[in-house]
Symmetry: C2
Subunit: 338 residues, 2 copies
């Protein structure tokens, strides 16, 4: 299996990405194509002492920066690393793409160049929110900020396939994010979506869920609009960071015994911190694209990239794309026949 | 000052609410009117050994339960505790209302019976999200789930007055919750709201903020739609609970030294937990109502009720209602004159 890694546009420079890809090659016995500034990539490989036939380099002379307009940049920069990666994926020159660059650019490149699965109205971003148990798949985490009810139904189907095939949850429970449990609650979007989800045979719909159910094991798949999902995701990131920081501060500004206690619990806290680290789950999946496309956080370290590559391999092995295509089609036939 | 407390409909029964109100009377030298089942309230007062002229009881023979339809229940149950409280507030028989019952019912009773401030299109729920520093006022936390841009502008004005007068933040920074910093980002609602906030002279608008800025001190007032605000608020509640639970679990399933460390840091952790406890901030304020109306969490303990009463006293002392009325009017004149 060949995984293309767009090594440009990350916060830490490309060393972490190259290291993560190389580690993945060893761990999963796959091949990787490192796409970006070939001179810089070769330098890093030399510095790391890597000589491995399974690690190839493909030059791309341009980069799409975080602050560029995604659609415009993808159209204009034909040799940007993410554009080259998306094109190679469509041409079958690789099996999956991993990027830590601009989410918008990756989304656009994937949709325009790699292409959508037949029947998918709009791709959505699916991502595992850590919590009790296996966590929950949040979909959509930011692709469609003005989603139609039918988009949310497709998100539910695609998120369920993700939970089933990647997280190995049998008949994953699907919840519609809302402000209350009753069917009549919520904004117009949620009220219009509820009956559609209820009628959808391709998912195991459990009804409305509230924000607090996401991390406490109340659901396996959280369906929401991309605006809400993105706000939630980033709020959670900030809140977790705040709690860990205030905890550290509380311990350091206390007496000697508390400080001693802080030292003693450090290993347990590090374990917890890593459990709550979204990087562990290998980034965000673009669901609805013809081949696996994963976007990692801009501040991803090597192990996050390795995990992301691991996810794409699971994705390919379990034919996630085909299963999504099949269920979207089933749903279309069903809706069409009513 | 006379604060009416609706003691019905809370998760813990009315003892906690009565205790909280009595504590507030001592702490703030105010008066309280306990509204609900008079027999039960008198029983609790007797059990607590309270004999204080400043604590009065007002019977209400009905209760609105959490699962009832708010508007219907408020119209039908004329003698429900929250309905009686809202009516007394309009009649000037008390200066503020505190309730721990159904948010929807309180919202409806306040709007229909106490009444809106002149010029306010729709009341909004304002609430302090704990975080670094003084935290941030989230508005709207669940009142208008399909808010128009003009509603969001009024939320921004009312939230700013709250931050200024209650949290004592000079020229509070206002941020529009969005998925990115640039003016052109976001859903239709956010894109339409941005220029209105930018033009609003009554607030100190700083531009878009993202979810992660809420707890990390990036803003003083977070403006968003009630659907998004409610989802965020409950997600944060669940996430904080999850982190503290997993922390406890991580410590208890570790070796003896970690357990010892856990014991040593407990006081510091309790302090942090209390800092992150939204109850500390005294509940959610209905902004845009003619008099202070505070809704506490259904699982509020006595100290949360005491804090909520403290907030309403600050609210009255600082003429928050008048200041809101004035700035809403200024904004209307300005918009009208353009």
């Amino acid at each position: 299996m060949k995984i293309a890694v767009d090594v440009m546009g990350t916060d830490y420079g490309l060393t972490e990405l190259v290291q993560g890809a190389v580690d993945a090659v060893k761990k999963f016995a796959c091949e990787t194509i490192l796409i970006g500034d070939a001179v810089k990539i070769e330098e890093v490989l030399a510095k790391l002492g890597i000589k491995d036939d399974r690690v190839r380099v493909h030059n791309a002379s341009q980069v799409i920066e975080m602050d560029e307009h995604p659609a415009m940049a993808v159209k204009q920069k034909k040799d940007a690393s993410i554009v080259v990666a998306a094109r190679m994926l469509r041409q079958g020159l690789c099996d999956a793409v991993v990027s830590a660059g601009s989410t918008g650019a990756a989304m656009t490149a994937a949709t325009l160049l790699t292409g959508r699965i037949k029947g998918v109205e709009r791709p959505a971003i699916g991502l595992t929110i850590p919590g009790m148990g296996k966590g929950a798949v949040l979909v959509d985490a930011g692709a469609n900020v003005d989603a139609k009810p039918s988009n949310l139904v497709q998100s539910a189907i695609m998120g369920s396939v993700y939970a089933e095939k990647i997280l190995h949850i049998l008949k994953p429970r699907v919840g519609l994010l809302n402000i209350g449990a009753e069917e009549t609650k919520g904004n117009e979007q949620a009220q219009a979506t509820f009956p559609l989800l209820k009628a959808c045979k391709e998912i195991n719909f459990q009804g409305n869920i509230e924000g607090r159910d996401i991390t406490t094991g109340g659901t396996d798949v959280v369906v929401c609009d991309g605006f809400v999902g993105n706000a939630l995701l980033k709020f959670g990131e900030g809140l977790a960071k705040t709690i860990f920081m205030l905890m550290k501060e509380a311990i350091l500004t206390s007496g000697l015994l508390t400080k001693l206690g802080g030292g003693l619990i450090r290993p347990a806290m590090e374990k917890l911190r890593s459990k709550m680290d979204p990087n562990k789950y290998g980034g965000a999946l673009l669901l609805g694209i013809k081949a696996p496309f994963v976007i990692c956080h801009g501040n991803s370290k090597a192990y996050a990239i390795t995990n992301a590559i691991g996810i794409t391999i699971e994705f390919v092995k379990n034919n996630v794309t085909d299963v999504i295509a099949e269920r979207i089609q089933q749903n279309k036939n069903m809706v069409g026949s009513v």
